[in-house]
Symmetry: C2
Subunit: 174 residues, 2 copies
DNA sequence: GGAGAATATCTCGACATCAAGATAAATTGG
DNA sequence: CCAATTTATCTTGATGTCGAGATATTCTCC
């Protein structure tokens, strides 16, 4: 059985080059993980393009969606937000500052913990993130046209397996 | 047939939350693409940790490996390097400057094009990148233990399909 | 109930990246 | 063979992120 591929991607070339230069090494892990990295890189660009239509930066979208999907009253602590977005606390403080300045979120003291703060989506923030999310899904669907429904599910499952060890434990970056 | 999953990853939680909040939307693209992004993020961290053992930063490794796998005389133009690493030209200039300062590469005029420059790996650079590459492969293999050989190939093929549209066309970022 | 550890957030300085534009050389067409 | 365009690299300024440490509050447990 031959699994002929329509054409090469950059990782095919990269792996072929390594096999030439280091035939003593098994570079097969790159077939998976270099593709993940490179695809993520391309995705970032596509996402950025999708968001400019809605006057949002990628980092803004990441924070706003975390709040949006938490449900009413669209409110989370900075700590919860940094765990959701995989950035450090200093970065999150900065992001919240800027989102506050542009009127998309507000900061409130946590009534149950005086160390804490709660970040809440404003009406404007809610509108923006909902619009941008619909646009993002449309673009993402386009990126996936090469795969059938069954293949998409298979891919999701395989990625899931790789992700569990990371997400099951704590998550780092504080 | 039931494909029961051992446990949840963060994307399972994220998708479930969206289905609760926006049952009108089909968020299935996230099952694939959010996993790609998050996995890439975790990978970056793992790679960073692997490289510190060899006194290298991730960005240094990216440039040095591109040179390494190009074969003797381990020499590429800045333009070729930026296409290989998906960064902009300003970034690449900066990287080459710093790699030159730390003695891992040298810059030479291109004998065939006086606009051009060739970046060449030094002996030190070659040693470092070879050592780091072996270390990286070891770590990456550990990250893939959850998948059998057959599954890894399937995953690579599916990712390949998504990647081709990006890599077949030009690649952007100049 | 008090000392010490843990937690939550913020501050600040260093730094890598990007985007846009500058410079220089090569290529193309008339 | 010259002008216009394209290509290759570098420069510059703005910005987002990280990492380490500061501050304030809560938790643990003796």
């Amino acid at each position: 059985m031959s699994h002929s591929r329509a054409s090469e991607d950059e990782v095919d070339r990269l792996v072929a080059a390594w096999r030439q230069e280091r035939p003593d090494l098994d570079v097969s892990p790159l077939e998976v993980l270099s593709r993940v990295s490179r695809l993520s890189r391309h995705l970032d660009r596509a996402r950025r393009a999708a968001f400019t239509e809605h006057d949002l930066e990628s980092w803004e979208f990441d924070v706003l969606t975390a709040l949006r999907r938490s449900g009413k009253p669209y409110e989370l602590s900075p700590g919860a937000l940094l765990r959701a977005t995989l950035v450090t606390s200093g970065t999150m403080t900065n992001r919240i500052d800027r989102l506050t300045a542009s009127g998309l979120v507000t900061r409130h003291p946590d009534p149950e913990d005086r160390r804490g703060v709660l970040v809440r989506l404003t009406t404007l923030g809610l509108e923006r993130v909902d619009a941008a999310f619909v646009g993002l899904l449309r673009r993402e669907r386009e990126l996936l046209v090469g795969l059938g429904e069954r293949e998409q599910r298979a891919l999701a499952t395989l990625l899931h397996t790789l992700l569990v060890p990371f997400d099951a434990s704590d998550g780092g970056a504080h």
